[in-house]
């Protein structure tokens, strides 16, 4: 029997942190504000009010599109998407239907799993554990208000109504929840690098809706020759798909997908076809539950938004929107220019704040006087200073501290009795036979436990890096 195969696509919503809302001048920063204090006739949908699009939001959508290697369309328009819900004051959401700002992009993600699974997209290039996932479209729309259930009553807060929202839609190129998580983490970092959103899942400024379907048997793969005479494979996707909503962390995305794949495999195993439906995710139970079936699906009655003329983007305008250096480029540059470890470069480049501190330190004239390697700086940044980086420490201050640490190390090295260190190491090895055996069996992390014990023995008066080096020497005898 063939292994079941999952097809997973993603819809990602990202709230932009523009100063004002998408179609009016109200503040887009609604977090923790008094309900209905950031509203006006436009975002309340009062009769006669009209939307005027926010240029910055359009620009940032183009930026996201470019960062995701999309085609930026010369002409794009807004459409009305109709549905009735109390948090939607106009009875329609201004969104984009058939002419999004950007489409046909891709994002390469380095899979951190040692085992590279086979992938859905046959055209995908694979090298170095890198996988390519196609981006179908990037479009711009407005957020809705928020419902608050208080006792028997439901209240509506319109502070969020009209906040710019970018929707990123992928092709169903994922076949496992881990890849989805890596992809989302990469996307999250990119969005933060672009400075267009804080992409905070908990605050709801980044929302994920995966759609999942599974086929139980080998796919019928249709091969045909395209115009360019290249062999193209066409994959016949399952004839249903399940969308999961209300997920507010990457971990829950993974859980929801894993649960959903299991559930669908079980149904298929019984010879049933899962229903096309929208399901919610219960994070306490870790399960998905049915919300709305296909029969109840909305007919959104899209039509071009008559209040906003179509947008045309000149080539010059598109070219003028510059993508900053993105995490993957930075990572490569750090390895090449600073000769730091790839794993450290990866950790460092996950947070733009850390890369800023790192680059400022390395560019600073003072750092050369310290005779310190980039790797040592990274070690300090990642271990000792990591929690301080958010407190706006200047490069000067950090260099001072680096110098102090360096001096301490030199002092320790100078004052420290080599014999005392050797004695302590011997003592600790004797005392911790379990850890030593673990290490010898291949649990390399066990050495860190021993380093800690030696450091305690010496009351911290040693350089842990030297201790570790010495320990490994002794253990490998």
């Amino acid at each position: 029997m063939n292994k079941p195969k999952s097809y997973i696509g993603l819809e990602v919503h990202v709230e932009l942190m523009t100063k004002s809302k998408m179609f009016c001048q109200c503040s887009a920063n609604y977090f923790a504000k008094e309900p209905n204090s950031q509203v006006c006739p436009v975002c309340l949908g009062l009769p006669g009010a009209l939307p005027v699009p926010n240029k910055k939001a359009v620009e940032w959508t183009v930026l996201i599109g470019k960062a995701l290697n999309c085609k930026i369309n010369n002409v794009s328009k807004f459409d009305r998407k109709h549905y009735f819900y109390p948090d939607l004051p106009k009875g329609y959401q201004i969104s984009q239907y058939d002419e999004p700002i950007a489409n046909n992009g891709w994002l390469k993600v380095k899979s951190q799993k040692s085992k590279v699974k086979s992938s859905n997209n046959e055209t995908m290039k694979q090298s170095n554990n890198e996988k390519l996932f196609r981006i179908r479209r990037v479009h711009l729309e407005e957020d809705t208000g928020k419902l608050l259930h208080v006792g028997q009553e439901t209240l509506v807060d319109f502070n969020r109504s009209g906040v710019p929202l970018v929707e990123i839609v992928t092709e169903p190129d994922f076949d496992n929840a881990d890849d989805v998580k890596f992809f989302l983490e990469e996307l999250h970092v990119i969005i933060r690098y672009l400075g267009v959103s804080n992409a905070d899942m908990e605050k709801g400024s980044m929302r994920i809706e995966p759609n999942i379907s599974v086929v139980s048997s080998q796919l019928s793969v249709v091969s045909k020759k395209s115009k360019t005479e290249k062999l193209k494979t066409e994959i016949r996707l399952p004839n249903y798909k399940v969308e999961v909503k209300n997920i507010n962390s990457f971990r829950f995305v993974k859980q929801a997908i894993e649960y959903e794949v299991e559930r669908q495999i079980e149904l298929l195993g019984k010879g049933k076809t899962p229903l096309q439906e929208t399901r919610g995710f219960d994070e306490k139970k870790g399960v998905t539950y049915s919300q709305r079936s296909k029969e109840e699906a909305h007919d959104y009655r899209y039509f071009p938004e008559p209040d906003i003329p179509p947008m045309t983007f000149a080539k010059k305008y598109i070219a003028s929107i510059n993508i900053p250096e993105l995490p993957q480029q930075k990572l490569k540059r750090y390895i090449k220019d600073f000769k730091i470890k790839e794993s450290d470069a990866f950790t460092l480049t996950r947070e733009l704040g850390m890369t800023k501190s790192f680059e400022e330190i390395m560019m600073h004239p003072e750092i050369r006087k310290l005779e310190i390697t980039a790797q040592e700086v990274v070690n300090l940044l990642l271990n000792k200073f990591r929690n301080q980086l958010s407190t706006d420490k200047t490069a000067e201050k950090l260099i001072e501290e680096i110098a102090a640490v360096k001096k301490l190390k030199v002092d320790i090295a100078n004052s420290f009795n080599e014999a005392e260190l050797n004695n302590s190491i011997t003592l600790i090895i004797k005392k911790n036979i379990v850890a030593v055996n673990d290490y010898k069996k291949g649990k390399l992390n066990a050495v860190m436990f021993l380093v800690g014990a030696v450091m305690r023995e010496l009351k911290g008066k040693a350089d842990p890096i030297i201790v570790k080096k010495k320990l490994i020497e002794k253990l490998s005898i």
């Binding site: 006739p41 309340l44 949908g45 009062l46 009769p47 006669g48 009010a49 009209l50 939307p51 005027v52 699009p53 009305r80 109709h82 009735f84 109390p86 004051p89 106009k90 009875g91 329609y92 509506v156 007919d299 009655r301 899209y302 039509f303 008559p306 209040d307 906003i308 003329p309």
Partner: protein, 473 residues
């Protein structure tokens, strides 16, 4: 003559010469409303105390200096606003019961501009609910009557504005024109009514009917008054993304220009069956007057005219169904069962034409036809400077005559809707009386050429002076 029958031009002359005060003028109109509006039902809301207060303010400014009219060209002029115009702190109902108690927290851009120009707002005028109608009979509050014959309709949907101005209840009134709604009441009430180019006047704060058709116009007694008001209302508005930044002209300055050797076309498709014999005769008389004035008259063709009404009645209800979705009774207003029959009809039509599976056959097809109709007008304007056509195929009809036959009612607008489909400007001017009832013609021009309409309209008005004929109420 009573001061409430003055034109704006005459009234400003009187105010400058201190023949009367703004307060006297305002009170004269308010008095007139009290006296006759029970018969007409032109006003839904009267804002008497604020109007009087504003009139006193205007008098203070005039006393200080008559130069005040330079920056405030409508200073002290009492006007009525169609109830689709959102007015801060003043009830705005759109002629609909569902928002009978709605008091907006903001002014429409045009309302703000009129206030800044010194106009005195007397109140809000009756209308077909949401602008849906050609007779005024679709008002949820009751029909407005024609001052020239109380058994007849005043034309809609800006029915109250037409009747109020024709009967001396104000000196100007605003309207919106999505398919005929300024021009038809102007035609049926012996008045000058402008449907500006789409985008010429801001729609911000005007309760939307069909957003890609709605234009914000006004009704006056004379062409001069109309041009003067457009100078106030027109112009780009940062709150309306569809408003144009094409410069606003000094429209009144075009009125003295002669129309000798101007090329005036008349669409042959408009002079076919379905038009009243008497209206047709009136139109041919009109042509003769223009010829006498030296214009070159020429038959032109708008070949897609027969599809215009179908196109209009697919696209407009589509947008109507969307625009009325916000009246859900959650934040303001009553429950949706309070929608009138015509609103329900259009919501259902529009919901249908936008539905999955029908969109391509209806909305999309109609949108394509719309482009063809636009092209018709562009091609015609390559041949002629302006076009003229009868405003309505019939004289003002009896109240109740067409109310049970929506299709018959829709056909009242057959000569006007195509203009909105194309988005070009048109001006109704009085062209005489049939059986004691007013009829009008419309002058249709190329996009953003309102000055041409005024030039042609003024020449005809100077020759005919129909505006001097007042109703007996």
């Amino acid at each position: 003559m009573e001061i409430y029958y003055l034109t704006i031009k005459e009234a400003i002359g009187g105010l400058k010469k201190k023949s009367f005060s703004a307060l006297e003028l305002t009170k004269a109109c308010l008095q007139r409303i009290k006296l006759i509006d029970k018969k007409l039902f032109a006003f839904l809301t009267i804002d008497e105390s604020r109007a009087i207060e504003k009139a006193k303010e205007a008098d203070r400014l005039i006393r200080k200096s008559t130069e005040a009219f330079r920056t405030k060209p409508l200073l002290g002029i009492p006007i009525g606003l169609k109830d689709l115009f959102t007015t801060k702190d003043l009830r705005t109902t759109a002629g609909a019961k569902i928002i009978k108690d709605y008091i907006p927290p903001f002014d429409a851009t045009v309302v703000r501009k009129l206030k800044e120009a010194g106009a005195i707002i007397l109140g809000k005028t009756n209308e077909d609910a949401w602008g849906h109608g050609s007779s005024g009979e679709n008002s949820d509050y009751g029909p407005t009557r024609n001052p020239y014959n109380l058994d007849r309709v005043p034309g809609g949907s800006s029915s109250g504005s037409g009747a109020a101005l024709a009967s001396g209840e104000c000196l100007m009134a605003t309207g919106t024109d999505t398919g005929s709604s300024v021009r038809l009441p102007a035609a049926f009430c012996n008045l000058v009514g402008l449907k500006p180019t789409y985008g010429r006047v801001s729609r911000y704060g005007i309760i939307a009917m069909a957003s890609s058709f709605d234009t914000i116009g006004h009704i006056t007694r004379t062409v001069y008054d109309n041009a003067l008001a457009l100078e106030v209302t027109a112009g780009n508005d940062p709150y309306d993304a569809t408003s144009s930044s094409i410069p606003v002209l000094n429209y009144a300055s075009f009125l003295e220009k002669k129309i000798k050797s101007l090329k005036i076309g008349f669409p042959k498709e408009y002079l076919v069956e379905g038009i009243d014999k008497s209206v047709e005769e009136n139109f041919y008389d009109t042509i003769k007057i223009f010829e006498k004035l030296g214009a070159k008259l020429k038959k032109v063709s708008l070949p897609h005219t027969e599809y215009a009404m179908a196109c209009y009645y697919i696209l407009v209800p589509s947008e109507v169904s969307s625009n009325l979705a916000r009246f859900d009774g959650i934040r303001y207003g009553g429950e949706r069962n309070l929608f009138g029959a015509e609103a329900k009809r259009r919501i259902m039509l529009g919901t249908y034409t936008l539905s999955a599976g029908y969109y391509d056959a209806y909305y999309l097809k109609a949108a394509k036809v719309r482009r063809l109709i636009k092209q018709d007008f562009e091609r015609a304007f390559a041949e002629v400077d302006v076009m003229i056509a009868p405003s309505s195929p019939s004289i003002p009809f009896k109240i109740g005559e067409k109310i049970d036959n929506p299709l018959q009612m829709y056909l009242s607008d057959v000569f006007m809707c195509p203009v909105n489909v194309a988005g070009v400007p048109a001006l109704n001017i009085p062209s005489g009386f049939i059986e004691g009832l007013p009829v009008g013609i419309q002058i249709i021009g190329p996009h953003f050429k309102e000055e041409l309409l005024y030039q042609v309209g003024s020449a005809f008005e100077q020759e005919t002076k129909f505006y001097q004929i007042k109703p007996e109420i």
